[in-house]
Amino acid sequence: MKVKWRAWALFLHRDLGYFFTGVVVLYAVSGLAMNHAGDWNPNFVVASRDLTLELPNEATQVTTQQVRRCLAEVGEEGNYRSHDFISSQRMKIYLTNGDMVVNLANGSTHHETIGRRPVLYYLNRLHLNPAKWWKVFSDVFAICLVLIAVTGMIVVRGRNGLAGRGKWLVAAGLIVPLLAMFLV
């Protein structure tokens, strides 16, 4: 019996393409976000401000009550978790949504809050293979991507197919990664 390989190619290309649309977008968007991780934080929204807290100049003199009072003055009363000393002159206050680093010598304080970046945080997490089952799924996805690529090359016949302009476009698309392999 003659194998309808072109029909198979079309169905695989089309249906796998539909099925993995969401995952392609997921990897593309998070890949774009993480590609520029040097320029921004793709996972978290970090906000910071500088303020002054009135605390004793020495670590040994600082009490939890004083820290809580200072936090109340800057609107962070309910966010206190704990505090710890980096050195005799530097203290870190742990908050529920961030932290404050205090220079006890002059009270100057750097306050940072941190929160998950909506959507992107979760996409980036998936991109980093957080769980074994996701790794299995992304392996299947990777294999299917190869199938989608290969079947995509053979579904069209004629001058727009692989034998026509297709071969030139495939070759052109290979130039950049091949150059990168040897130059980067």
């Binding site: 169905f11 710890d84 908050l95 949504n97 932290d99 769980a131 299947v140």
Partner: protein, 323 residues
């Protein structure tokens, strides 16, 4: 009209098989749901102390091997110490065994106390926040989110965890760096030294102070004409440019420059690409001496681990209520 005939086997069936396969995969545990035996606390059992050597972790196998070897080397001496019953090594990130994995093992084996010795140079987010957050001693908002996003499991053990001081406490570098300098030096009075360390953005003040002191000690001990330091880690965006700049600056004033990585172990990325690349691209590589080595191996580090473990063990025996 569709020119192709539909294949007999519907692709939906194939996708269904994939879905079934995935559903089976869902039965696998996630890193946060390890299948290790559930901890069996022994509140009334005998006190049992374990030593957990924790290093940063790396994708580099060479790096990990050096740290694993360190654990193997100190194991015999540590377990020979009265009150110390076991030694394990863990990596904070990238690879197993993780801190959580090891703590679960300690719990399962009935340990009541774990002395966690970080093999980290000086204060950083990892030592000050991340490790304490992983073992349940702190709840730093940034660490919590970062650990979650990077898939690093937190685990609060049944055993009491005691954190040991960092390597800067040991004055290890004061012997280590002059030894490594001597291996490369020809004429100290004509040579400048570039110390290249990881660095830390949030703890830059502490790193600068520590390295200003280290520069001074190395200069006094070795007789080198000048000692400077620079960073190669996250603070330098993992770029060799600051190292190259420091080398080139010294080359304008000194006959030779000796470059020493102040990194715990050898990693192809750091000692190879970043620092090695900076040396190769400097204005006069022939006047630069560089071995691409690391703090390890160093018998003084082994000795210090044994000393600090014994000290903390004896302190905990003397005052068990102190924690």
């Amino acid at each position: 009209m569709n020119r192709y005939r539909r294949p007999r086997l519907s692709l939906l069936s194939t996708l269904g098989l994939i879905a079934l396969f995935l559903a089976a995969g869902c039965q696998q545990t996630t890193p946060s749901e390890s299948s290790l035996p559930v901890a069996d606390p022994h509140p009334a059992g005998p006190a049992k102390t374990g030593i957990l050597l924790v290093s940063h972790g790396s994708h580099s196998e060479q790096w990990r091997t050096m740290l694993t070897q360190l654990g193997d080397e100190v194991q015999t001496e540590l377990v020979a110490t009265e009150g110390i019953d076991g030694v394990k090594s863990a990596f904070m990130e990238y690879t197993e065994p993780s801190i959580a994995t090891r703590l679960k093992e300690f719990d399962a084996e009935g340990y009541t106390r774990v002395i966690l010795i970080p093999i980290l140079l000086t204060v950083s987010s990892h030592s000050f926040d991340d490790i304490p957050t992983i073992v349940g001693l702190k709840e730093d908002a940034k660490s919590l989110l970062t650990l979650e996003s990077e898939g690093i499991e937190r685990y609060t053990p049944q055993a009491t965890v005691t954190l040991a001081p960092l390597l800067d406490f040991s004055q290890l570098l004061e012997k280590n760096l002059p030894r490594r300098f001597a291996e490369l030096s020809k004429s100290p009075a004509e040579e400048g030294v570039v110390l290249v360390a990881y660095g830390s953005e949030p703890f830059n003040e502490e790193w600068e102070a520590f390295f200003a002191h280290t520069d001074e000690v190395v200069q006094q001990t070795t007789g080198a004409a000048e000692v400077v330091h620079t960073w190669c880690g996250h603070i330098a965006h993992y770029s060799g440019d600051p190292t190259k700049q420091a080398i080139d600056d010294l080359l304008t004033r000194r006959e030779r420059v000796i470059v020493i990585p102040v990194l715990v172990a050898r990693d192809e990325g750091f000692q190879g690409r970043i620092i090695g690349g900076a040396v190769a691209e400097s204005s006069a590589p022939e006047r630069v001496a560089y071995a691409g080595d690391a703090i390890l191996p160093d018998k003084n580090l082994n000795e210090w681990i044994v000393t600090i473990a014994r000290k903390l063990q004896s302190e905990s025996t003397e005052s068990p209520a102190s924690e």
